[in-house]
């Protein structure tokens, strides 16, 4: 079987040549980083003022880390390495915890990103003959535009369906004989359950592949999606700080996600000690961009946990493989593909005088979708006795949470003192979703 490949020269590059390329690109990236106020200061602190100070690839370990908080503090332009007029796109986070973050792209940055996504798509065996329905949100969410550009570059017929409206998704799949989709795993399970309601059978579809990502999922979930639709499902990994999708993707062998090492330097570190971990040991993914000029990031701490898959992939690609993401080294929750921090929920509750300080965040599976329940206690002193006021309060908290975390949870009001009391690190989050 011949392995489908988009850019054989890079994807099969000998490790030695790949690492030489990485070092050259790292020096270039540091040169770009030195154009930003943020990194000029950070790099000076470690005595690095010139890209040629980097003698070998191992010297990446002397570079400073970058965290999400750094991105917030540098907002909007502290990490911008080019004149604004050279940029052609930005993706910004909602900034719900106070400060948003932003990643800028030049035309060349978008071009590089698109190339990486094209590699991912072709590695799964999808081709220009496929009809590709992109079921992820367009706009600030990088999964929409990222896959869209890559699929167009491959030459697929792209249906920019965006997320939601399941009835219409199914109709589009039938009308245009969609053969490849991109969605969150939970949405595909939801879509399958909705087929019956639309009077459509799997056999009436022409689906053959799915790209699934944006939320952690188990191997069992992947196999379930494959069995339900009679397709192959390929795991996708990306994050907006590293462009978005196209960071790492499974090839036809589905034995881990090849991370494009000409575009990123990958480190797996112990999240506590920040010491490098040997192959096979699970730690935090830390990445350095190698091709992004507008917003170069050095040693970005993703907080995602994974390990390196040992051995060589039968496909022959020399780019190493990440195992599926196991979780987070911080307390971020992923709810139907949306990132949620418990602190965002806490902020809203603390600004609502009618509820007390105790709360509980509960995550459940309702069908194949996640359900977020926020339980809070009413504050006895502000209780008026009027049931309508309580319904209004629930609605008001629900709306405030929706504007903070972009999803509307179920809000439950409880008696004072009925939720577990906070004692130091209280268990505020109960995840009842099946583990993997």
């Amino acid at each position: 079987m011949s392995v489908p490949v988009w850019n054989p020269a890079v994807e099969f590059m000998e490790r030695e040549a790949l690492e030489r390329l990485q070092l050259a690109s790292l020096r270039q990236t540091v040169a770009w980083a030195l154009e930003t106020p943020f990194y000029r200061r950070r790099l000076a602190e470690v005595g690095l003022t010139h890209p040629e100070d980097l003698g070998s690839l191992r010297d990446v370990r002397n570079l400073p880390y970058t965290t999400k908080d750094d991105l917030r503090a540098a907002f909007p332009n502290g990490l911008l390495a080019v004149d604004l007029e050279r940029t052609v796109r930005l993706h910004t986070s909602s900034g719900t915890t106070g400060m948003p973050t932003v990643i800028y792209h030049t035309r060349r940055d978008i071009d590089h990103w698109t190339e990486l996504v094209a590699r991912c798509i072709v590695a799964t065996g999808a081709t220009a003959r496929d009809v590709f329905q992109n079921m992820t949100n367009y706009g600030m969410f990088t999964g929409g535009l990222g896959l869209h550009y890559g699929a167009e570059r491959v030459g697929m017929l792209v249906i920019p369906a965006s997320s939601g409206n399941t009835g219409r998704q199914i109709q589009l799949m039938r009308n245009f004989q969609t053969s490849v989709v991109h969605a969150t795993p939970s949405y595909l399970l939801h879509l399958h359950a909705a087929l019956t309601g639309e009077g459509v059978t799997v056999e009436q579809l022409r689906l053959r592949k799915a790209f699934i990502g944006a939320e952690p999922h188990s191997e069992e979930t992947r196999r379930k999606i494959e069995a339900l639709f009679g397709i192959q499902a390929y795991n996708s990994y990306g994050l907006s700080e590293m462009n978005g999708p196209g960071v790492a993707f499974e090839c036809v062998y589905q034995t881990g996600l090849h991370l494009w090492e000409d575009a990123y330097i990958l480190e797996i570190l112990d999240p506590e000690t920040l010491q490098p971990l040997p192959e096979g040991r699970t730690g935090e993914i830390v990445m350095t961009t190698l091709q992004r000029q507008a917003t170069p990031l050095l040693r970005y701490r993703t907080r995602d946990l994974s390990h390196l898959v040992s051995g060589n992939c039968p496909c022959g690609r020399t780019h190493r493989r990440l195992a599926r993401i196991k979780g987070r080294s911080d307390d971020m929750l992923i709810v139907n593909g949306v990132n949620v921090f418990p602190s965002q929920i806490e902020d809203v509750l603390m600004k609502t005088p009618e509820v007390g300080t105790n709360y509980l965040i509960q995550l459940e599976k309702r069908g194949s979708l996640d359900r977020l329940v926020v339980k809070t206690e009413i504050y006895a002193k502000l209780f008026t006795g009027d049931p309508q006021t309580l319904d209004d309060l629930r609605e008001r908290i629900g709306e405030a949470l929706r504007s903070a975390i972009l999803i509307k949870p179920t809000v439950e009001l409880h008696e004072p003192g009925s939720l577990p009391v906070s004692e130091g690190k209280a268990k505020r989050v109960v995840d009842l979703r099946p583990a993997f």
Binding site: A380, T384, G417
Partner: protein, 142 residues
């Protein structure tokens, strides 16, 4: 005007009897009781022999409870008795927000309790029609 006691309770087994248990412990009589059910929680509304004491006892035990003035009106327990009262309110466009009633002496006397949007005006109207707005001590002594 009468004071009605409202208590917030989770809708799960054992919560209602936690409320009645506290009232028993303080020798408080329940005159009437109704529950506004809101699925996950309910608001229990009570007329009791000593609303202030009941309120304090419940709050001391951690309950969210509130006192609220309501109108308690003595009406005749016969067909049309309630209708005569409500007609008075309708004529003057006084809106009833929440209400419940109970019989004291079958065939003779009943009490109608209600929250209205203008309690003072309602009380004046009702008194002018010769109906009896019960004061606290009258109600509690029933």
């Amino acid at each position: 005007m009468t004071e009605q006691l409202s208590v917030f309770v989770d809708n799960r087994p054992g919560r209602l009897n936690a409320v009645t248990g506290i009232l028993r412990d303080h020798q408080i009589d329940i005159r009437a009781m109704t529950i506004a059910d809101h699925r996950a929680y309910g608001v229990v509304k009570l007329l009791v022999s000593d609303p202030r004491l009941a309120h304090r006892a419940l709050v001391d035990q951690g309950f969210a409870a509130a006192l609220k003035p309501v109108l308690a009106i003595a009406i005749e327990d016969r067909p049309g008795g309630l209708h005569e009262l409500l007609e008075v309110l309708a004529e003057r466009s006084i809106n009833v927000l929440d209400a419940y009633g109970f019989v004291i002496a079958p065939g003779q006397r009943a009490v109608w309790c209600m929250e209205v949007d203008d309690p003072d005006a309602a009380a004046r109207l009702i008194a002018a029609r010769g109906l009896e707005v019960l004061a606290d001590h009258e109600l509690y002594r029933l």
